[in-house]
Point group: C2
Chain length 107, copies 2
Amino acid sequence: MDEDTVFRALADGSRRRLLDRLHARNGQTLGELCEGLEMTRQAVTKHLGILEEANLVSTRRQGREKLHYINPVPINEIADRWISKFERRALDALSDLKKSLEGSKDE
Amino acid sequence: MDEDTVFRALADGSRRRLLDRLHARNGQTLGELCEGLEMTRQAVTKHLGILEEANLVSTRRQGREKLHYINPVPINEIADRWISKFERRALDALSDLKKSLEGSKDE
DNA sequence: AAAACAGGCAACCAAATGGTTCCATATCAG
DNA sequence: CTGATATGGAACCATTTGGTTGCCTGTTTT
C-alpha cells in the first residue's frame, strides 16, 4: 500500500536476494531461505519481516514451519504508478536520438 | 550502473519527489528545486548528489547556476532487468485467479 | 570594486538500519 | 516425556543516513 515502505524494503541487497530466491522457488521456510547466506537466522527473520510489512512477501504457518510466498502486486504498483512515467520520458529520449541520427544521416 | 546505488537512491521520499519535480520540468536549478521544500538548500544538495551518483540525474553548469536533468535510463534498467521477472509472476497469478474463478463458476 | 546571488564544503548530530548474541516458545520424532 | 528442530523476541552495537549550521568560492549586477 505505502509506496515508501515498498521502496525502503527494496533498497537492501539482501532483501532483493531473498525475493530472488522466492522467485526461483516459492513457499520456502525460514530455514531454507537462510541456507548458504552469510547472515544469522535472526537477520534473515528481520529482512523477511520488512518484506512482509511491505507486502512483498506473505506467509503461512504450517506446523512449526513458516512458509514464505512472494507477492508481486506492490512491485507492479510501483512499476505502473511510478516508473512508467519515467519510461515514457525514456522512450521520448530514444525517439529524439533516433530523429537526431536520421537528421545527421541527411546532413 | 550499480543496481544497489539506484535502489538506495530511490529509497528516500524526498529524492523521489525531486525526481518528480524534474520529471514535471526538466533542467531546474538547485534554487528552483529547493523552493517550497521544508529542507535546507544543503540537504537538497546532498540528495541531488546521491541521485547524480546513481546516474538518475545529470547536471550542467551554466554561469553560477547548476541545471539538473533527469536521466531515466537506470530506472528502465531496473524495470527491465529486475521488476519484469516479478511482473511475469504477477500475470501468472492473475491467470491462475482467472482459472480458479472460471472453475468455481462451473462447479 | 562592492554587494548580492548561486552554489560547494565540512563538521557535527540524532535517528534509522543491518547486524549480532542470548534466551524463550512451539512443534515434531522417538 | 525428552530431546531435537523451527521460529520468535529483545537488548545491544557499529555504521549509515538525513539533516543541520557555519563558512568559503565563484559569478553577476550595479
